[in-house]
Symmetry: C2
Subunit: 233 residues, 2 copies
DNA sequence: CGCCTGATTGATAAGTATCAAGGTCGGTGG
DNA sequence: CCACCGACCTTGATACTTATCAATCAGGCG
């Protein structure tokens, strides 16, 4: 999986860093001056495809924000299965809880060459304690994540694979638009199933006409999102 | 299910309210004066067994804290299955995210006659904005909950029922001690399975000798927690 | 004493994972 | 330029786990 585990720091212009911070809802209430201050404390790092930004159990020294690229946040079960919780893109935090944990409880891995901003935990902590709106923003993000995971649990316990997969597709389409560039396996990990059954369900949906996954790899096209949504009831 | 949906306000002494607030880790860094101030804004309500403190979708007007009794936090799937996320006891918040959501995304129901403190959302919001340590405390609680739910998801996707049930038992035993006063069905809802399979797994564990559920209803006794923990690997 | 809730056991069916065996496409090296 | 290789996709057969359905039992409470 990890062919090339290189990582290197790059110097991003302050303007670039400010731009990324502004895309993160956590900082939406900050003044431009505050954002610039925060940007000055952020460092950019490039992680090549497959590299870990951090792994489960690593000490939580940094608060991370995606500047560019895709980063998958996941956890591995005792029996070796991966479960993907989210795919972070520009402006997303990798772990909103970074401030209140000792060790990361998930792993973060670059899905393509990705560049990430990071801020030291201590620096961020003092910044947050001076800006209550940021603390509120973090709480909001965490609430949304928690709600999402509660829903996922309910799905896992009560619904069948097809419905779960449809939910995943809707969610992903909401974030990435109708064309998803995902491996069947990545989709399976996201939905809590296996590659094979993900494929079987996809063919079924294709037959129904709600999606048109061109045989091409890494491509699923949702032709009719509304109908897909409805099919989830 | 709900035989008697009575609810009534009671006047708790300030000392009683302070006592409860002090048991909640969110407020551990507050001065006694601050706690008293907060206590003065809290009102006590009794919810008889089976009553809802709130239901999924209700507007989130209040921040709740359990004063006495047991409250189950759960969600119902489209196909009608209940999933219990947590059982809140004295000092636990019902929904830590109450500040950052519009509507509750779970339901809270009294498992026995329970009394609960509640603080208006607005009042609590202004209090929190003056006490950053409380905001941090809320984040910590939310992080822990999120971590717990991530683990649950990994279990649901990757592990078999027996292991999940053992995990649930360990978790519950950590909170309530070795004697659990739970219905088989309640345990099943907590573990994401059905009553029948919960029973089958329990008998199996009983045969192994790690637990001794007296045939009596609502009782599961964990005779050897260490061995139970080990059996989960 | 009889009812009602919760516990239990068994038989059966359904849903998915697992295992196995190709198939396709794009890129790479000879 | 071609052949091969590896990553990804696909399909089929099978097995296993667990839900479901059905029936019975046990004990407390009115």
């Amino acid at each position: 999986m990890v062919k090339d585990s290189r990582t290197y720091n790059i110097s991003l212009s302050d303007a670039a860093k400010v731009g990324t911070l502004q895309e993160c809802p956590i900082f939406k209430d900050l003044s431009p001056a505050d954002i610039r201050e925060l940007a000055s404390q952020a460092a950019g790092t490039v992680f090549t495809k497959g590299t870990f930004i951090f792994e489960e159990g690593d000490p939580a020294y940094f608060f991370y924000l995606v500047h560019d690229g895709l980063v998958q946040i996941y956890k591995t079960s005792g029996s070796g299965k991966n479960v993907t919780f989210t795919i972070a893109t520009r402006g997303d935090t990798l772990v909103a809880s970074a401030l209140s944990i000792e060790k990361y409880f998930v792993s973060a891995q670059a899905m393509n060459d990705a560049t990430v901003l990071r801020i030291g935990r201590k620096e961020f902590l003092t910044f947050v304690s001076r800006h209550i709106s940021v603390a509120m923003g973090i709480m909001t993000i965490m609430s949304q994540r928690l709600e999402r995971e509660y829903e996922r649990i309910v799905d896992l316990v009560g619904e069948q694979v097809e419905l779960r997969l449809v939910h995943s597709l809707c969610l992903l389409a909401g974030k990435f638009g109708p064309t998803l560039s995902l491996t069947r396996q990545e989709l399976a990990n996201f939905s809590g199933t296996t590659t094979e059954t993900a494929i079987r369900v996809l063919s079924k949906l294709k037959k129904k006409g709600v999606i048109s996954c061109s045989t091409t790899r890494r491509e699923i096209i949702i032709s009719d999102l509304d109908r897909l949504r409805n099919s989830s009831r």
